[in-house]
């Protein structure tokens, strides 16, 4: 068994980038370091006996240096791919990004085409997976209007896509006040007219008050529309499930089974 130096970091783009910076500049050599992020799926049951764990405190300056070199030495496309991978729920994404960057700094912008390489292929697939879920949510998110006029939406995404979907709604609804809750991560994004949107954490906040739909009028109109638009002769639940997986439905107005 090898002894690795394992760099443990926060589960965020900045955390992973900081760990990459420190692992890279540590001088231990690429083969002897590993990055381990505190990912959604990591349960810490499997600590390596002979490896040394080094805890990395997120450092914004170091993270920015990494992102700057990815953009200048590889490409903006690669940078965006890496960011999306860092937002995925894949266990081991930090190390995957590290391995991808080793290749990327060597090969340059053409790295994204090297799909027959295992690491690049994995990054490509994860990028598609995260992008796919974000794109799904652009359509599947449902806002409901509260008494004070604020629009609220709840999502339970597998990947941390809130920062990928919010810009779309900020652009689309510039004059609305809206909140999107990610109940899987206890974070939310907030938007006010004329101001840049932000992401906030709410570990202790009680958002259950927002779960009760207030505007019943348009919600019932929407359900009427939804039921009437289907062609009875073509009813096909399997096709529906394939296009709209069940996991999204609990947050969608037209599918409330209660």
């Amino acid at each position: 068994m090898n002894n690795f130096k394992i760099f443990q970091c926060e589960n965020s783009i900045d955390g992973i980038f900081t760990a990459i910076y420190q692992a890279w500049s540590s001088g231990y050599g690429h083969a002897n370091v590993k990055i381990e992020e505190q990912c959604e799926r990591n349960n810490y049951n499997n600590i390596e006996l002979f490896s040394e764990y080094i805890f990395v405190k997120t450092n914004l300056e170091q993270a920015i240096m990494v992102s700057r070199s990815i953009k200048s030495k590889i490409s903006l496309e690669a940078y965006e791919m890496v960011c999306r991978v860092a937002l995925s729920d894949y266990k081991g994404k930090g190390d995957l990004i590290y391995r991808f960057l080793i290749l990327g700094f060597h090969i340059g912008s053409k790295i994204v085409g090297h799909l027959s390489n295992k690491v690049v292929n994995q990054v490509f697939m994860l990028n598609r997976y995260v992008n796919g879920e974000a794109h799904h949510l652009l359509g599947f998110i449902r806002f409901s209007e509260q008494e004070n006029g604020i629009l609220t939406a709840t999502i339970h995404p597998k990947n941390n896509v809130i920062s990928l979907v919010t810009p779309h709604f900020a652009d689309r609804l510039p004059n609305e006040r809206f909140v999107i809750f990610d109940k899987n991560r206890d974070i939310c994004s907030l938007h006010l007219p004329g101001k840049p949107w932000i992401i906030a954490e709410f570990p202790d906040m009680d958002s259950s008050g927002y779960d009760i739909p207030v505007d019943n009028e348009y919600e019932s109109l929407w359900k009427i529309f939804f039921d009437n638009i289907a062609i009875k002769e073509r009813v096909n639940p399997k096709l529906q499930r394939n296009n709209l997986p069940i996991r999204f439905r609990k947050d969608m107005t037209e599918f409330e089974y209660v």
Partner: protein, 515 residues
Amino acid sequence: MIIQEGMSIQRKLEILSDAAKFDVACTSSGVDRKGNGAGIGNSLACGICHTFSADGRCISLLKILFTNECIFDCKYCINRSSNDVVRASFTPEEVCELTMEFYRRNYIEGLFLSSGIMVSPNHTMELILDALRMLREEHHFNGYIHCKAIPGTDPVLVEAIGWYADRMSANLELPTASSLKQLAPHKSRKNILKPMRQIQLRRESNNEYLGIYDGRQPAGNKVESLLLKDDNSGRSDSVYNKVINSYNQKPHKANDYPIDKKENDFDVDLPNSNKIIPYRKSPTGRSRYVPAGQSTQMIIGATNESDYNIMSVSETLYDNFDLKRVFYSAFVNVNDDSNLPSTVSGPPLLREHRLYQADWLLRFYGFKMTELLNEKNPNFNVLLDPKCDWALKNLEQFPVEVNKASYYTLLRVPGIGVNSARRITAARKSAVLDFKDLKAMGIVLKRAVYFITCNGRMMYPIKLNEDFITRELLAVKDRLPFGIEKDITYKQLSLFDDRRFQTDDRLILQQFSHA
């Protein structure tokens, strides 16, 4: 006819969404538009599906009829004037309210407004124009709008509506003029094609003015656009005139197919395509005319046209009318009309599916209709998708070498689609690909394996024999949309559990596909 006064908006929505459900084109694609910071709404070129109804179809737009009152009596339509159904009409205000409130809550990507014909085509289209104008100008709605062009509408109204809508569509309804005459006596082919041609020419001159090229410029139109640019280009006139004259002398594509010569005479009495339309400034302040282009739809299985007839119409529409999409709608006999085919055992979904597959081959895979079908084989194979079918008839073109074949050659391999072909062309720049690389890249080899080589070797020693490959391909389950499988009952005819025991499978299959 039952007309209720003072109907609630719930009831109206119930009636008018139910009446709109047979319209197919619920897509919100084709235009990229950022929010303007002031109003509400933006648009993505790839389109966004917001939900999927019980039949598994995408809901992207608020698809409603403005009214289901109708003076026309089209036999296939639930809203025909001779039917005794509850009639309702929205007001422009109600359409705006529903659209805005649904849009805010992210239920929809925009509005798809179609309509029955109340009083006259012009009267109806005026009401629709009112609704769209109100939506765009008073509510500052910047999302997607798809609007129908009702046949027989005054060109002035079509011109005005096009500045508010993102996409417009005139429904062709039926593939041939004669079946249209038979089933929709109040509509004529000419009246349907007239607004289609008008919108096409307007879009071209608008794009020309703005210097926009939206990708897929069909060959037929290239000469037309050259002509529109003629006045200030530096090239010599003689070359131009030659090109234009030769183009004008050439018969239009539609006329190349003898079957359709009379029925599908697309250019009868239509404005000549190389007339110069002067640019008039948009009355609405919007700079683009129907930016997401046009679509149309045809009902499949109500009349006895072959797939060959239908596809040749589609190809003509794509080539000569610059359509973005042609939609196919499996016929459902809603009126239980005894003169029309019964759909008790379900609408012809498999046929619809095959037509869409072939439609994709025309639009993205570089196929020509005549490669897929001809007068001797006028219908698609029930058991194999159109590309497999084509490949089996053209085995001499296979196998192709993955590391060398051009993008369009790869696209012709069964099992390799646009995504796979793109990935292969990107990956082979940096490495010589082997079958295990293809697998790792997520390329499905089930079908492709019979048609490709990597470094000159096939994955298994395979004889390029039509019967053999047909049998193998039939063993690979065709990825049909769920629920269509039940249409195929060929297995019941086999005496053996393992159908490989039979030697004359192919023969039987051929009989089936021609039945």
